[in-house]
C-alpha cells in the first residue's frame, strides 16, 4: 500500500513563523447573543435566586437537569418544574492543568459532573469543584467519585442569572 500514500510537504513551525512560506492570517471573530430559551431561561432566573430546578416528564418519571421543555426519550412535552437541592454527588471529575489554548495553569481547575439531589439518578450537570487543594497531588488526595458536594453561591447581589452564579461545588461536611 506504500504506493498509495502521497508524501505531503510537511512544514515546521519556523517555516510559518519566519515567513519562509506565504501564509494569510484571518481572525474568525463572531459575536453572539445566544438566547437561553424557555427551559434554561427559567433555570437561569432560579439560579439568580439561589435555587436549582429540574423538569419532570410524567411519562417516564424522570426529573431532568439541565431542564428541558420536552423529553427527548418520550418525545413529548415535559410536565412540571421540580425544586432541587443545591447538593449532589460527584459522578466524575478531572484535574485540568492547561487552558483552552494549551497554556499551563498555575492552579489546576477541577471540572466535574455532579448528580444533583432531587433529580433522577445519574442526572448531572457540569461544573467545577473548589476548596479541594491547589496542586494535582492535593486534589487527587481529596476528591473522589461518589463524594458529596454542595454549591457555593455568589452573594445575592452579585448574581446575574448565569451558571457562574454558582462559584463552584465544595465537599459537603459529613
Amino acid at each position: 500500500m506504500e504506493r498509495w500514500v502521497y508524501p505531503v510537504t510537511s512544514l515546521r513551525p519556523e517555516d510559518v513563523e519566519q515567513k519562509r512560506v506565504c501564509t494569510t492570517r484571518t481572525p474568525l471573530r463572531g459575536e453572539y447573543a445566544w438566547d437561553a430559551g424557555v427551559a434554561v431561561g427559567r433555570f437561569l432566573t432560579e439560579l439568580k435566586a439561589g435555587r436549582l430546578i429540574g423538569r419532570r416528564c410524567r411519562a417516564c418519571g424522570r426529573v431532568m437537569i439541565p431542564p428541558r421543555m420536552f423529553c427527548e426519550q418520550c418525545f413529548r412535552p415535559t410536565d412540571e418544574w421540580v425544586p432541587l437541592a443545591d447538593t449532589g454527588t460527584v459522578i466524575t471529575f478531572s484535574v485540568c492543568t492547561i487552558s483552552w489554548d494549551m497554556r499551563r495553569l498555575e492552579v489546576p481547575e477541577v471540572p466535574a459532573v455532579i448528580a444533583i439531589d432531587g433529580a433522577s439518578p445519574g442526572m448531572g450537570i457540569m461544573h467545577k469543584l473548589g476548596e479541594v487543594g491547589r496542586t494535582l497531588e492535593e486534589i487527587l488526595d481529596r476528591v473522589r467519585i461518589g463524594m458529596r458536594v454542595q454549591a457555593v453561591w455568589k452573594p445575592a447581589g452579585e448574581r446575574e442569572g448565569a451558571i457562574t452564579d454558582i462559584r463552584y461545588f465544595r465537599p459537603l461536611e459529613d
Binding site: 510537511s10 439541565p66 466535574a112 448531572g124
Partner: protein
C-alpha cells in the same frame, strides 16, 4: 443484506503531518487521485462523491466541503457531505455504501479531509464551541475536560489503572512505526514514557492523546458488477450501523458507550454475525485517546465490560494475536486529522483483507474486519464491517 452488494475497490491517502503546505483542497486531491490510481479508474467513471470533514472551524473555512469539492472530484457530480463529528470518517463510507446499495449510483468516490493546522491558537480552541453556550461555556471548558471526565468515570467503575490504559498507547504507536503515512509511530515507546508524560487534564496525559494533524484519505466504492470488473480482490461491505445518544452528555452513563453497542448490533445483524468475538478477525476501533479503544471494544461487544484492557495485556490485541486491534497504529500513532482518521481505519481493513498491508500485515489471512468511529458530542457510534 439490504440492497445491492457494494465493495471497496481502491484506497489512497496522504501522509499525516502536523502542518502541511498543501491546502485542504490539495490534500483531498492527493488522496483522491491516489485512490483512483490504485484501482486504475478515472474521474469520468465515478458517478457520485461523498465528502467527509469535521467542524469547519479547523480548516477555518465555512462550508468547507464545498471548498474542498474540486480536489475530491466533485465537479459536476452529485455530492453530499457526511458529518457526524469524529464519527464522520466511517460514516462517509456508510454513505458511500447506501448511495450504491440503493441502486442510485454504481460508483462513488469517498474523500475525507482535515487541515487542523489552520486553527489558532490551537485546534483545541475550535472545540470550545461544542459546549452548551449558556450552561457550560461560561465555565471556561476545554475539550480535554470531557474526555478526562469520561476516562475517570470508566477507570473508577472498573478499577482500571493508568498502566492498564497506557498499554493501548504503546501498542498503537508501535504499530504505527510500520505505517508509511504515520505522524507519530515509535517502535521503542514504553509504558513508562506514557505514564511520565505531561499531565494535561488528569487522568489524561500527553501520550494518552492523539496528535492534531493535516491529512486526507479516499476510497473508491462500486456496485458488484463494476467491482468484479475493476479488481479481482473486492472487499465487500457486509454490515453497517450507526446510532446517536442524547446530547445531554452529563445525563449519560459515561462509563459505557451504549451508542456504539447500538451501532454494532445493527451492523452485526446485517452481516449475519452471531458471535462477533469469533467472527471478526481484525478491529480498528476509534482511538483518539487510549482509553477510548478499550471503551469501544466493550461497546462493540468484543470484550466484556471493564475487561478490554486484558486483551491488550495478554497480547490478544497485538498484530500477531488472536484478535488484532488497531494494526494500523490508529489515531494515536498514524495521526488524527479527524474525518480522515476514521476513513484511514476503513482503508486499513481494506488493505489488511487484501493482504496488502506490508509490514503491518496481520498473519493468517483475515477474512473479516470492523472499523468504528465515534464523535459528535461524544454521542455517535459508526460501524462498518468489511469482508472478502
Amino acid at each position: 443484506m439490504a440492497g445491492r452488494r457494494v465493495a471497496i475497490v481502491g484506497a489512497g491517502m496522504t501522509k499525516f503531518v502536523r502542518r502541511a503546505l498543501e491546502t485542504g483542497q490539495e490534500l483531498a486531491w492527493e488522496a483522491a487521485s491516489k485512490a483512483l490510481e490504485s484501482c486504475e479508474m478515472t474521474l469520468d467513471q465515478i458517478d457520485a462523491v461523498v465528502l467527509g470533514s469535521a467542524p469547519d472551524a479547523f480548516d477555518g473555512v465555512h462550508m468547507k466541503v464545498e471548498y474542498l469539492s474540486p480536489g475530491a472530484g466533485a465537479w459536476g457530480k452529485p455530492t453530499i457531505r457526511g458529518y457526524v463529528g469524529g464519527g464522520t470518517g466511517v460514516f462517509a463510507a456508510i454513505q458511500g455504501w447506501y448511495h450504491i446499495a440503493s441502486g442510485m449510483f454504481d460508483t462513488v468516490l469517498v474523500v475525507c479531509e482535515e487541515k487542523m493546522s489552520s486553527c489558532h491558537p490551537h485546534p483545541q480552541a475550535a472545540f470550545n464551541y461544542i459546549f452548551d453556550h449558556t450552561l457550560e461555556r461560561p465555565l471556561g471548558p476545554n475539550l480535554l475536560w470531557i474526555f478526562a471526565l469520561e476516562m475517570n468515570a470508566y477507570m473508577t467503575k472498573y478499577g482500571l489503572t493508568k498502566r492498564d490504559i497506557a498499554m493501548v498507547a504503546v501498542k498503537n504507536k508501535r504499530n504505527a512505526a510500520d505505517h508509511p503515512a504515520a505522524q507519530l509511530g515509535d517502535p521503542h515507546i514504553t509504558i513508562e514514557d506514557v505514564l511520565n508524560s505531561e499531565v494535561l487534564a488528569w487522568p489524561v496525559q500527553r501520550l494518552d492523546v492523539s496528535p492534531t494533524s493535516d491529512g486526507a484519505v479516499a476510497i473508491v466504492m462500486a456496485a458488484e458488477h463494476i467491482a468484479r470488473r475493476v479488481t479481482n480482490k473486492p472487499v465487500w461491505v457486509e454490515g453497517v450501523g450507526w446510532s446517536l445518544d442524547t446530547q445531554y452528555w452529563t445525563n449519560r452513563d459515561l462509563s459505557y458507550p451504549t451508542y456504539v453497542e447500538e451501532a454494532a448490533r445493527k451492523a452485526y445483524a446485517m452481516a449475519g454475525i452471531r458471535e462477533p468475538r469469533k467472527e471478526i478477525h481484525i478491529v480498528e476501533p476509534y482511538d483518539p485517546f487510549d482509553y477510548k479503544e478499550l471503551h469501544h471494544l466493550e461497546g462493540l461487544l468484543l470484550a466484556d465490560r471493564g475487561k478490554a484492557a486484558e486483551l491488550i495485556a495478554l497480547g490478544i490485541a497485538n498484530r500477531d494475536g488472536d484478535m488484532p486491534v488497531t494494526p494500523s497504529g490508529g489515531l494515536l500513532g498514524v495521526g488524527n486529522p479527524i474525518a480522515a482518521a476514521g476513513l484511514m481505519k476503513v482503508a486499513e481493513i481494506f488493505w489488511q483483507l487484501r493482504g496488502e498491508a506490508g509490514k503491518r500485515q496481520v498473519p493468517g489471512q483475515p477474512r473479516r474486519g470492523l472499523a468504528q468511529a465515534w464523535g459528535d458530542l461524544m454521542q455517535v457510534g459508526t460501524v462498518i464491517i468489511l469482508g472478502i
